[in-house]
């Protein structure tokens, strides 16, 4: 069966000496919820960007939906929440405008958003619990609410793959719980595939099917239950080393 993500012998370096990843082999099936963890500088974000086709490997192959990942970019099947996502604008963008921007590649060039698009935007905002603030500027919301607005933008794009890079950085514990439940619900209802990078998995741990530990390569790939010592006991020497 064709995997949704497949990396074969991937190598990547930043410049001549900055080797980031070597000999990475990874397979992710459709509908999986995969957590990617590892120490800072271990190559988690680089791995995710290679998977999405935003970076091209120096060696090896990165396939997404069975095609070279960089070619899939133009198809709009992926929604990506980069690390420290924030609205990089001085203009007061509303939740509705932010979420609607997720549909930019799906809508026609001219004219108002399609009826289907408007419904999806509204539905996505409701799904993340922001209906009451839909016309409020995003900058006026708390960190947790902003993250949910970004998540709604991803949902409005009707993606097959959700990729989130450290989505809970700077977000309180309650919001982390809520985000984790939201993602789990989405994964179950829509069978969407989720790649989730973080170094604080507390909230999502119970929903994740698989854990991939990255440290210049794949240090571990399997169900969390197979690695109880590493995952649950940070004092464990090998775990400390892997998780940084």
């Amino acid at each position: 069966m064709q995997a949704l993500v497949e990396l074969r012998g991937v190598e990547f370096a930043f410049g001549r000496f900055g080797r980031a990843l070597s000999n990475v082999n990874l397979r992710v099936e459709a509908g999986e919820f995969v957590a990617i963890a590892g120490p800072n500088g271990g190559g988690k974000t680089t791995l995710l960007r290679i998977i999405l086709g935003l970076l091209r490997p120096d060696k090896g192959q990165a396939l997404l939906f069975g095609e070279p990942a960089h070619r899939v970019l133009a198809q709009g099947r992926v929604a990506y929440l980069p690390q420290r996502a924030r609205v990089g604008m001085a203009a007061p963008i509303t939740v509705r405008e932010l979420v609607a921007s997720g549909r930019a590649s799906r809508e026609r060039w001219l004219g108002p958003t399609s009826r289907h698009g408007r419904e999806l935007v509204h539905q996505s905002v409701v799904e993340v619990g922001l209906r009451d603030v839909i016309d409020r500027p995003v900058a006026q919301l708390s960190g947790g609410m902003q993250q949910r607005a970004f998540l709604a933008r991803m949902l409005a794009a009707e993606p097959e793959l959700l990729a989130l890079d450290e989505p809970t950085t700077g977000v309180d514990a309650d919001s982390q719980e809520r985000l984790a439940d939201l993602l789990a619900g989405l994964q179950q209802r829509h069978r969407v595939t989720i790649l989730y990078i973080s170094h604080e998995f507390g909230a999502v741990e119970r929903h994740v099917h698989r854990l991939v530990l990255v440290r210049g390569g794949i240090a571990f790939d399997g169900p969390i239950s197979q690695l109880p010592q590493l995952w649950h006991d940070p004092s464990h020497a090998h775990g400390r080393e892997l998780l940084g």
Partner: protein, 269 residues
């Protein structure tokens, strides 16, 4: 009708002020929001080199300015997309090179005269029907392209990496934005001049952001403020016998100052 308020000979300048006043902040909005405010200045200085080159080679100054500035803007945008950190340095380099090249070329062409200064500081009062037709066409292209690209430009402005992952052709969208900025500079150079056009692209956007409640309202408010500044500047220039380019930009800055003051009063109240 608005035009009836002005003497016959001012009708083409007034129409030009209206068109430029709306188009410049519309394109400037996306430059400011992407923290590329200096792009208008850099392209303006390159267009000056284009005007000087036209004098040297006996070409049409507006057409040559359009061609040179579009090429320069596209080159900078391509390099900036590949190396974001170099963007600021590239723009500074383009700005200084454009001005220096323009001065040298104008000197070689023995064109350092009132005609050249008209491009640098604007000469809106000399705009006639045929010249307005060119400005109007360029503005139509700019505003039409912005309407067509609005959704995609906004997505790229919010987060270009997420936009790329979502399937948007980010480099092509950026190239079109740079080209539209170059066209805007060329269409506005006769109204406010190449040295001041960037101000009309940027200042109304800064003002609108103080009061806007959404992206759409910010863009439309900026265009409205651009119209007020252009028309107000032209009116002041006419009655006080001052250079219209300068009064237009000073009106835009005064509106910004008033908006800041009003905002301060609102916060205290």
């Amino acid at each position: 009708m608005l035009l009836d308020l002005f003497p016959e000979f001012l009708r083409w300048p007034v129409l030009t002020a209206l068109v430029v006043g709306a188009a410049a902040p519309a394109i400037g909005f996306f430059l400011v929001e992407r923290q590329m405010s200096v792009v208008g200045d850099a392209i303006g200085h390159t267009a000056f080199a284009g005007v000087a080159l036209a004098h040297l080679l006996g070409l049409n100054p507006v057409a040559t300015a359009v061609a040179v500035s579009v090429l320069a803007a596209a080159a900078v945008e391509t390099l900036r997309t590949r190396n974001r950190a170099a963007g600021d340095r590239l723009l500074a380099l383009l700005l200084y090179t454009g001005l220096a090249l323009g001065m040298v070329l104008a000197s070689v062409a023995r064109a350092v005269n009132a005609g050249l200064f008209a491009f640098l500081f604007g000469s809106i009062l000399t705009v006639d029907g045929p010249r307005f037709a060119v400005v109007g066409c360029l503005a139509g292209i700019v505003l039409g392209a912005l309407a067509l690209l609005y959704r995609r430009l906004l997505a790229v402005t919010i987060d270009d990496e997420a936009a790329r992952a979502a399937g948007l052709p980010v480099l092509r969208v950026n190239l079109v934005l740079a080209t539209l900025a170059a066209l805007t500079v060329s269409l506005a150079m006769q109204a406010v001049g190449l040295l001041l056009i960037a101000a009309l692209m940027v200042v109304p956007v800064l003002t609108s952001n103080l009061f806007a409640w959404s992206v759409r309202s910010s863009l439309l408010l900026a265009m409205g403020l651009g119209l007020v500044a252009s028309l107000g500047g032209l009116t002041i220039a006419y009655f006080a016998n001052l250079p219209p380019g300068g009064t237009t930009v000073l009106t835009a800055v005064a509106l910004y100052g008033l908006a800041l003051l009003f905002q301060g009063l609102l916060r205290r109240g």
